[in-house]
Point group: C2
Chain length 311, copies 2
């Protein structure tokens, strides 16, 4: 096991409350006075989750968006946020605060509190956000998939990964792809509308294949994914081509992965049309364990690397 | 204004929800389904809030305790926590996890979720905790003091500041003082019992004088503090002597500062006896503005430095 996996395993023993969902879900779900509060806390670190020359306003957006994406995956409406901010240089802080204002306004997200600290000299900055949401109904987990379910994904895959390659100068410039990397759009409306229809739901942060394997494991079933069905954007196709293995493992998608009974397909496609958001069927759940891949119906081996292992 | 004050002023404009209390209180107070949730997020940074050679288990304790102290000041019972953890070296992480287990168990605090990230190479570690509490009744703010109120403080002052001086080798060793610095005890029971009796209440983190001035400002009244009434521990007296100016400005006390109508004095002293926790009357609120100091009833000037300015 990795060092991180060891640490998380140690924490899991401490997370005995049902609200913690065994630390195996996107968020905690706390029942308070007959209401379901959904709580998540994600950190981003300079040099790891964002680049020192990323625009500070985009870093503010990303910090908020990755947390709201967890709420989206639980079908929750954002209620407020607490910010853990490490000061850096003055101009960067000012731009961050302006970006945060725009971000919070965009999402109608009230800032409720938090903490501002100085970093030690020469340190890379670490920023944290706690997002609090409220779910209108039952809160889907990662563990609700059942054999026979269809497997679906919102939006398109691999755009953010391609955007990072643009920023590294590896592929031709594309404003769309860079935007998908720097300012992901949490699927809040889709998540809220899908929550009553799904078996399991989670957001995609580390790569479709690794996240799908986590969902299959949590649900105690097998997933089969058909590579050719993975949705790609026009910008991705133009910049990268039909490299669906890259799209399936690149991470940072912040799309929703979910399963639903086949009888739900019509409703899901209607919802997709209403919201103007592509929702694509990419596979199915079966009895058994593990993740398998087909391409044009033929079984193909899984890539050696399924995504980012850190989660 | 300092850089931090500028940044916080910029955030204040974003914190328009009443739950945020204008970012001027110890915690946010969110009304959910007729219940009062109290939410706080504090970060601690290596080299700033803890020392690289502090025992990792004590760092875990302090991270939890400083957050629970905010809940105590709002009279809230802890309900759960989310951890934002930056991995470091393996042995440190393991000791931190063990210390966290002991800490959570001590406080009966469920771990609900959070995030684990890798730091960038060579970075100092930053750790964050979000604590969620629930208040049984109205939640005291910093703004509730009124002229004529008595001003009170729990426990003893300056012990943690003296403990830091022990660790720096400036004064003779004292296990008690070091423990007060490394493993503060949030006054949860006292806070919950005091909440219905107080005008204003807050926890002391940056130094009595600076925190008292903040409370007076938030309440729109003046505070007069009698230096000779500040409670000192036997260990402090033995190690530092009767240096009440040091005790009043050293910070890291994590005691409760509160005001109450004079008619509450008997109840407060009875509560102090029941809980075995000293509660000392140290001054009074008056009409006007600002903070003034007396010593043996004679007006004396305020020290040039009132405490830690970062808050």
């Amino acid at each position: 096991m990795s060092q991180e996996a060891d640490f998380i395993a140690a924490l899991r023993g401490l997370a005995t409350s049902p609200a913690a969902r065994g630390l195996a879900d996107d968020a905690a779900v706390l029942e308070v006075g007959g209401r379901s509060l959904v709580l998540t806390h994600d950190m981003i670190v300079e040099g790891v989750h964002f680049l020192p020359d990323d625009p500070p306003a985009d870093v503010a957006w990303k910090l908020v968006a990755v947390n709201l994406s967890d709420l989206a995956a639980k079908g929750a409406r954002p209620v407020g946020a607490l910010l853990g901010y490490m000061l850096g240089d003055d101009a960067w802080d000012r731009d961050f605060a302006r970006g945060l204002a725009i971000t919070l306004e965009s999402f109608g997200l009230p800032l409720l509190g938090g903490d501002t600290v100085r970093g030690a000299a020469g340190t890379k900055r670490a920023l944290g956000l706690t997002a609090i949401g409220e779910a209108a109904g039952p809160v889907p987990s990662r563990a609700g998939a059942a054999p026979g379910d269809h497997l679906w994904v919102t939006g398109s895959l691999g755009d953010a990964g391609a955007g990072l390659r643009v920023l590294k100068g590896e592929i031709a410039a594309s404003a769309f792809l860079v935007e998908r990397y720097r300012t992901p759009r949490p699927r809040l409306e889709a998540g809220a509308a899908l929550a009553p229809l799904v078996g399991a739901m989670m957001d995609l942060s580390d790569g479709l294949l690794i996240d799908a394997r986590r969902m299959a494991e949590a649900s105690g079933c097998a997933f089969e994914i058909e590579l050719s069905s993975l949705p790609l954007s026009d910008a991705f196709l133009a910049a990268v081509g039909e490299d669906r293995r890259f799209a399936a493992t690149a991470g940072d998608d912040y799309e929703l992965l979910f399963t639903a009974r086949p009888a739900r397909a019509t409703e899901i496609l209607r919802l997709s049309e209403e919201q103007g958001l592509p929702i694509s069927r990419i596979g199915a759940a079966a009895s058994g364990r593990g993740l398998s891949l087909t391409e044009g119906g033929e079984s193909v081996p899984l890539p050696a690397r399924l995504g980012w292992e850190h989660g």
